[in-house]
């Protein structure tokens, strides 16, 4: 089984040279090296593991095995593994959980040894004063109580999109299991429930995000008044992340962790070697996991990242609490999870209002950019058959406005997606997208102002929605008001528009700096469609709106 050392060294050297040629500098920091290299595990992972870098550096010193992370979301990762795309590009996966992955057809056969390294439950962190006012400090609180208080808008919270991130996904499963489950894993019928308690719970969500990192940053920016919107009371995330936030000391008020007495869903971080991995990679994986599971390293993982040790015999730090955490059963049938997520998106979550400000200037006629735009809209209108695509379509009850622009803002078209039969509305949105034609100049800021005016009118009619603006442009502003005018406007927006973020798409020759400024001014973020396909970017933004 062992290759002669000289041959191994030669192979290693070639791999190292290839790697060096590919990405100068630090091999660990690439977006996933694709060439195998002895002593380097290419790991498809959840982005929250980035905080392990110092411990993994020490591990590399001790074991000679380095980790090259390639970060991706829960569903995206599951899709990559189940489809076999990870077989040649990665050696291992390290997600917060393999539970969703295990439900994908063919996925279990793709996985080799799975070794749990640490764990962390998904819980609710609330500003201490709010938790105190609700009487939730120092006594057990159930999901029913939390849902009732949420329904009465006694607190607000932020959560990630369940199709993008494990924390949002775990929350949907936990809340449904606790509120409509019977004590066993959810059934398909229960997963389809639209019980008022479920809607109550999700009604209090005022901050959404397609990634855990953005959510955390947005929460802190709101809390410290760096962002225009009002502070949010709470955050649903891993216990480890919430304790980490408290420890950083950047929050004006610490978070009180609420561990629902009727149960939580815990991430158990299985470091999993792929079945397709080489003998060398499997040996490296074994060596590294053995090291990470030694008591001293487990202690360090707990002390430095607030994650719970997986190995018995390492006593829990007092900050991790002493209460018995009941683990809720996680449905083990794909049909149940699919039903639950579909029901959540189309019927249960707080409905969205999304205004797409779309550049149709003459330059969009180049390189079939307008075709790219039409196809990207069609993708999120239902044409994308991928696992993530099916949860990032226009959702039931969503209010979608398309505002094309060139030399002036065009005519807005608004659609409200039918809750019970979303297909026909989605088809009409795709048709409207297909009718877009490239011609004329680029009046970005007049059009953005117009979008805010539309948002204002729509909010006045129907205030209880997540409202966001998506701005896609392929060039610089050539007509109408400039970014300075928008800057002034952004600072003087009426209160109900201050929480409306702009998510900007970098495309073609768009002005990177201005697009970043617009996103920052409004509490949004930029997405880069110059390095990723526009359709993928449109899909990714769906996690934020």
């Amino acid at each position: 089984m062992r290759r002669p050392a000289a041959a191994s060294a030669a192979v290693a050297l070639i791999a190292a040279v290839a790697l060096l040629a590919g990405c100068a500098g630090s091999p660990e920091a690439t977006d996933g090296p694709t060439e195998p290299e002895p002593g380097l595990l290419r790991v498809l992972a959840g982005s929250e593991l980035a905080d392990l870098a110092p411990i993994l550096d020490e591990a590399a010193q001790a074991t000679g095995v380095r980790v090259g992370f390639d970060f991706t979301g829960t569903l995206d990762g599951a899709e990559t593994v189940a489809s076999g795309r990870a077989d040649t590009t990665h050696d291992a996966t390290w997600f917060s959980s393999n539970r969703y992955l295990a439900l994908q057809p063919g996925a279990p056969a793709k996985l080799g040894t799975a070794t749990e390294i640490v764990s962390s439950p998904v819980v609710l962190g609330l500003r201490r004063s709010v938790a105190d006012a609700l009487g939730w400090i120092g006594r057990p609180v159930t999901w029913s109580e939390i849902a009732a208080a949420a329904g009465a808008r006694q607190f607000s919270y932020g959560m990630t999109d369940p199709s993008a991130s494990n924390t949002g996904f775990s929350t949907v499963v936990a809340v449904a299991t606790a509120l409509v489950g019977s004590g066993a894993a959810l059934t398909v019928e229960q997963a389809a429930s639209t019980a008022p308690a479920l809607k109550d719970f999700f009604a209090a969500q005022t901050l959404a995000a397609g990634s855990s990192g953005f959510l955390q940053d947005a929460y802190v920016r709101r809390a410290t008044r760096a962002d225009p919107g009002p502070p949010v009371d709470g955050l649903i995330n891993y216990e480890s992340v919430l304790l980490g936030l408290n420890a950083e000391g950047t929050l004006p008020e610490p978070l009180e962790l609420i561990y629902p007495a009727d149960g939580v869903i815990t991430a158990e971080y299985p470091f999993t070697v792929l079945a397709s991995a080489s003998q060398q990679a499997r040996d490296d994986h074994r060596k590294l996991t053995e090291y990470l599971r030694t008591p001293a390293v487990q202690q360090a993982l707990m002390d430095r990242t607030f994650r719970r040790p997986a190995v018995p015999g390492v006593a829990l730090a007092p900050v991790l609490g002493t209460a018995t955490l009941v683990e809720l059963p996680f449905p083990a049938q794909a049909e149940v999870v699919d039903t639950l997520l579909t029901s959540y998106f189309d019927k249960i979550r707080r409905p969205s209002r999304t205004i797409y400000v779309l550049d149709t200037s003459g330059s969009m006629g180049q390189d079939d950019r307008i075709g790219d735009l039409r196809r990207s809209l069609a993708g999120i209108a239902g044409a994308d058959p991928s696992l993530t695509g099916q949860y990032r379509r226009f959702r039931g009850r969503e209010e979608v406005t398309l505002l094309p622009f060139s030399s002036t803002p065009g005519t807005p078209q608004t659609f409200v997606v039918d809750e019970n039969d979303p297909g026909p509305t989605r088809a009409r949105i795709a048709d409207a997208g297909n009718a877009l034609q490239a011609d004329g100049g680029t009046a970005i800021y007049d059009s953005l102002r117009r979008a805010y005016d539309i948002a204002g009118e729509q909010i006045a009619t129907d205030p209880d929605r997540f409202t966001s603006i998506v701005l896609m442009t392929d060039g610089e502003n050539t007509e109408g008001s400039d970014v300075g005018a928008f800057r002034d406007y952004a600072g003087s927006r009426p209160a109900d528009l201050r929480t409306v973020p702009v998510f900007t798409v970098l495309f073609g020759e768009s002005d990177n700096e201005q697009m970043t400024e617009v996103a920052t001014l409004t509490g949004g973020r930029t997405f880069d469609a110059r390095t990723a396909p526009l359709a993928e970017v449109f899909k990714e933004i769906r996690g934020y709106v």
Binding site: A24, G64, R286, P312, V314, F330, Q333
Partner: protein
């Protein structure tokens, strides 16, 4: 995937000097690492095996490695579910497979016939739990007072009624709004859950081993909820037992494990069992006979040593397994001053592998 998405555009050609210097450093590091990775005794024959996870701690023990090394072997193992070993694992990568029961080995043998197999030890299936849970189970009539006997018949009655912990009368110690269910591994992948299916179906089948397709069809509706209602379950018994030990009562109030796993902790020099840990024996239960299947001639050497080498046999007993000869097991228990495990009288045979496969298909497991 936006993280690092722009990095490719940041590639730069390094100046020749820097590139050469970096290459030299990398060559040095790589060669040094390769050197470090080479085993200290290169005359050893490397043998690779894929084994049930519960035997991992045994194979990882330096004393076990030393005995193998003294016999010229460097045994390296990966763990996988016993059913995975017989179905999805790429066996060409391995010199032997060591699933955790005779039906699992039979399933493997049907695909990879080999003249000899080795069954060096066995372990009865047991329920690892906690003192407060034992009290609740005793009051609910599942545990006979003062014994370690877990009455499967009474348990199956409670489970059939979807009894929740918070519905047990007078339960103030663990009022969880969760069904009273024994936690198992994924029955589609792992042997321990398949053994549990074996003795649960025995009870449902009117105290008889399920032996034909009609029996399979008859028991399926009653045994299905035992697994389905748990939801997601871990792929391996080692993970389940670890969850039981580290996450405690809230996550895993009752874990279906091998007796050996629990005893190994009690016998270890540094036990990590929770203070209020308790072990119960289902009645009826099954003895799981761990069976080594050689895939290459060198795999036979491992099987022979495990069956005949007195040091290895003593070490298997240290890990709580029951070798064919009962004496090393008794010696290990008494030497440590532990009470002798109860005599198990209600022991049944697991169903044959094809019947077991039929039941798993009924539970929705892919072939």
């Amino acid at each position: 995937m936006t993280v690092g998405g722009g990095r490719r555009s940041g590639r730069r050609v390094l100046s020749g000097v820097i590139a050469l210097a970096l290459l030299a450093v990398i060559a040095f590091v790589v060669l040094r690492d390769i050197g470090g990775r080479t085993d200290p005794a290169p005359e050893l024959t490397a043998v690779t095996g894929v084994i049930g996870s519960e035997k991992l701690p045994f194979f990882a023990d330096q004393r076990v490695k030393d005995v193998f090394a003294a016999n010229g072997l460097d045994v390296r193992v990966d763990s996988a579910g016993s059913r995975q070993i017989a179905t999805t694992v790429v066996l060409d990568n391995y010199d032997f497979a060591f699933p955790s029961s005779s039906p699992a080995a039979d399933r493997l043998l049907a695909a990879r016939p080999t003249p000899r197999t080795y069954a060096p030890f066995s372990s009865p299936m047991a329920v690892a739990t906690f003192a407060p849970i034992v009290d609740l189970l005793t009051r609910a009539g599942v545990v006979a007072p003062g014994t370690q006997t877990f009455d499967m018949r009474r348990y199956l009655e409670l489970a059939a009624a979807s009894t929740r912990w918070d519905q047990l009368p007078g339960n103030t110690t663990f009022p969880a709004r969760k069904d009273l269910l024994v936690s198992t591994t994924d029955v589609c992948q792992s042997n321990s859950a398949a053994m549990y299916l074996g003795f649960a179906s025995y009870v449902v089948n009117g105290e008889a081993v399920v032996a034909d397709p009609a029996g399979v069809a008859a028991v399926t509706p009653a045994v299905q909820p035992l697994f389905r209602d748990q939801g997601y379950s871990p792929p391996s018994t080692e993970v389940l037992f670890e969850d039981y030990q580290s996450a405690g009562m809230g996550r895993v109030p009752m874990a279906l494990v091998y007796e050996a796993q629990y005893l190994a902790e009690e016998l270890s020099s540094d036990p990590t069992l929770p203070a209020d840990a308790r072990l119960l024996y289902p009645s009826p239960t099954v003895f799981s006979r761990h069976t080594l299947v050689p895939l290459e001639p060198v795999g036979d050497r491992v099987g022979e040593l495990l069956t005949t080498n007195p040091e290895l046999i003593a070490l298997t007993a240290q890990y709580g397994f029951r070798p064919t000869d009962p004496r090393p097991f008794t010696e290990a228990i008494t030497a440590r001053g532990l009470p002798a495990p109860p005599t198990l009288v209600d022991v049944v045979e697991p169903p044959s592998y094809d019947i077991l496969e039929g039941m798993l298909a009924g539970l929705g497991c892919a072939p």
